[in-house]
């Protein structure tokens, strides 16, 4: 059972000659790799039973796989969003007054409002067909990646803490502190190009790490619940930064009475990746690096092994000789640095003209949803971050073009996470077969053990 691909190859041995055609089936690869454990369990449970036909197995795997659930979850969420857009559209409301006289008008109005909104969403996030050149048409995609940059970094921070069994709601505070430190270095010092950026980056990461480290240290030393401490530190950071922003000599721009910092110096700003006409900046490369790093930490390093052990069962980890308390501190330090990266990429990459106390832009909380959608795995978070970045970029253009409030994006995002988290619900709605019924997989008895204290 150690190699998840083993049952798939086992199935390939006994396949009939026409199976090569079946392999061309789109989506089959993803579906096969994600449901192999199910088939393995089925094989182990009933070895003597005659195997069903290849086509049946294939269809069953596609219908019960995680990939199809994810796709259907997105579709479901978009349908709900469409209903909301249609119901609140003015033209639809006008046409629905005489629905029974001319129902066609209502249908047309619904189609226009929904298709208009979703076209704007697509053109604002992936590719704009109304532009003449490819360079101008692809700009929305680079915007998506720009919006995704802090979301991925923040999601990694929240997800890493999740894996150690901690809930880091303090993304806002960690981002604010990191942004302030990086911004202060970014506008207040004169350093050569490159070095300046590096110093500001490291300063920001340290700021975020230390701010989160407070919560980790308090949890390790006194047992203070990290949920309370991180929430409280959000507010403390917000007011601290607000005060610094309106105090001359700290963060406030000289000669100004607004609570805003001066612009960052050219030497500290992240270079643009694709030239000045795009907003995509070096922060995206850093985030890709961070994703690889977190993947390496979690699945290849001994520290990551300890992290996961503590996350699975702190008591067992302690008995096994792992220092649980220091794991809490290390995990929060790394998580804070990752959220710090999100804050730094905001001030040195996205908003370089000086920032206010709203620089976090709700990313600290969005990061929680990103981490949940990505199931706290580094590459899952990476994909989820890009998806949410696309929604964010497209949502703003949808608001500008069609007048649909950008909050619809929040609804669609949260519905996607809800639906993906509950595969049985999606299966019931689309009447898909239940894999557990076919495989007779024993359900885990979660309530069997009670935490020993």
């Amino acid at each position: 059972m150690s190699d998840p691909r083993e049952p798939a190859s086992g199935g390939a041995d006994s396949r009939e000659p026409d199976a090569d055609v079946a392999i061309e089936e789109p989506g089959s690869v993803a579906a096969t790799s994600t449901t192999t454990t199910t088939t393995a369990a089925a094989r182990a449970a009933a070895p003597e039973v005659e195997p069903p036909s290849r086509w049946h197995t294939m269809l069953h795997q596609i219908a019960t796989g995680n990939a199809i659930i994810s796709v259907l979850a997105v579709i479901l969420a978009l349908i709900v969003g469409a209903i909301m857009i249609a119901f609140t559209d003015e033209n639809v409301q006008k046409a629905s007054v005489y629905f029974f006289a001319r129902p066609g008008d209502t249908v047309v109005a619904v189609w226009q409002s929904v298709s208009g909104a979703y076209t704007a969403l697509f053109q604002g996030s992936v590719y704009n067909f109304n532009r003449d050149t490819f360079a101008a048409g692809i700009r929305p995609l680079t915007e998506t990646l720009t919006f995704a940059t802090p979301l991925i970094a923040g999601g990694l921070g929240v997800g890493l803490a999740f894996r150690v069994g901690m809930f880091n709601i303090g993304g806002r505070g960690q981002m604010l502190i990191a942004a302030s430190v990086a911004g202060w270095i970014g506008f207040g010092f004169d350093l050569p190009w490159g070095l300046h950026m590096l110093v500001a980056l490291i300063g920001g990461l340290l700021g975020g790490a230390l701010w989160a480290g407070i919560a980790g240290l308090l949890k390790a030393r006194t047992g203070a619940h990290e949920v309370i401490v991180t929430i409280m530190l959000n507010y403390v950071a917000f007011y601290l930064v607000s005060w610094m922003l309106r105090t001359p000599g700290l963060l406030q721009a000289p000669g100004s009475s607004n609570p805003k910092t001066p612009a960052m110096k050219e030497t500290a700003i992240f270079p643009a990746l694709l030239g000045p006409q795009y907003n995509l900046h070096f922060g995206f490369i850093l985030v890709v690096g961070a994703t690889v790093l977190v993947w390496w930490i979690l699945s290849r390093s001994s520290l990551g092994f300890k992290f996961r052990a503590v996350g699975e069962n702190p008591n067992a980890a302690r008995v096994a000789g792992i220092n649980v308390k220091s794991m809490y501190v290390y995990a929060m330090l790394i998580a804070g640095a990752l959220l710090g990266l999100a804050g730094v990429s905001q001030v040195l990459g996205t908003v370089t003209t000086g920032f206010t106390a709203g620089i976090d832009a709700g990313i600290g909380f969005d990061a929680i949803t990103v981490a949940l959608l990505g199931r706290s795995t580094p590459w899952g978070i990476f994909v989820a971050g890009i998806l949410f970045g696309a929604f964010k970029a497209g949502g703003f253009s949808m608001q500008a073009a069609e007048g649909v409030p950008v909050e619809i994006v929040l609804v669609v995002q949260s519905l996607i996470v809800l639906f993906i988290a509950a595969p049985p619900l999606v299966r019931t709605i689309f009447r898909l077969p239940d894999p557990s019924r076919a495989a007779k997989r024993p359900r885990p008895i979660v309530t069997k053990e009670v935490k020993a204290k």
Partner: protein, 428 residues
Amino acid sequence: MSTTVQQTPASDVPALATTVVTSWKAPIAFAAFTLIALLLAVFAPREGETGFRLSEAKDVIQITTITTPAMPTLWVVIVLLALATAYSVFIVASKRRVPLWLIVVFAVLFMVGFLTWAAAGATIPVVGLLFGSLSLAVPLIFGSLSGVLSERVGVINIAIEGQLLAGAFTAAVVASITGQPIAGLFAAMVAGMLVSFVLAAFSIKYFVDQVIVGVVLNVLVLGLTSFFYSQVLVPNAAQLNTPPRFDRLPIPVLSEIPIIGPVLFRQTLVVYLMYVAVALVYIGLFHTKWGLRLRAVGEHPQAADTVGIKVNRTRFWNVALAGAIAGLGGTFFTIGSGIAFNKEMTAGAGFIALAAVIFGQWDPIKATFAALLFGFASNLQNTLAVIGSPVPSEFMLMLPYVVTIFAVAGLVGKVRGPAAAGKPYIKS
């Protein structure tokens, strides 16, 4: 910081060895706060006299305003604080626990000292300060009651924020349409319950991680209410978003008691409902069959199932009840204060309520006091901003949160919630 000492009693007494846990957290925290007061007195002395106004102009029984010279009072307070700290050191050194009354006395003393220092040369309206604190605490108390109920039955309720927001939105809309705040009140309970239904359905029927559902529900409700606010309420503000407010209902005799009367008994219906809710939840949870079953399901669902309690049904309906209570709290933001609904108007109150649940150790009374503490701290800042305080307003705003961190780390320490909270019950 904590040390465990094995105490063996004298040999002639046939008793078992007892384990005594001593904690130096309280004396250390006391010393820190005494030091803060001392630093204020030494490095930022303030001249003038401080007045404490104890009664409003319309009260029947008038109490004269107490006026004290600021600095001498502060020094007296510092001496008392030092004495309390020394006493706590003595208690811990003799292997006993620091009693709760000492912590309360210390906190009140520190507050008096701080207020005399901060408001030197002005008069503090004590009644107004306490009245506002109670008002600001109302949604927090409802929210924390919701959290207590839900978590005691074994479902972690992060969605308090969403329930409050849904309650605030529905109350505003329904009360505006009908013109009856009472109708808004019931609508808010239904809205909070609907949010809870989603939480319960996903976590109980589909075994989704309860924290995930809670966080996502917050985002979902935020998105829904903001969307409908921008799309529907703003264009039709006159019909849909001009909620009437509850009138204040002074209780005839009780409202004339000095200090307590104006604070507790000249409130709106929502606040009186809050008193009833706290009492009912406390009595229900610890003195009725319903509460016993609820707690059994939250602590050990398998055992509860064995004796015939329907675990998932109990969870579902109690989570729904919790949602209704939180929805009630949401009414404070709109019809409770007569304010039109606005985007994100709960502004994190649900998370503060969550902190109050944990701070109050999943006990309705303690959680209520924790919520009152938050309300007091927020209103203290408002009061000091009016009379002009030497401290930057941001630091005053920060204070409740810093105090909470200190309190959670220093006084509460490791808290243990209901054993089965967060785990779905899957009958095998």
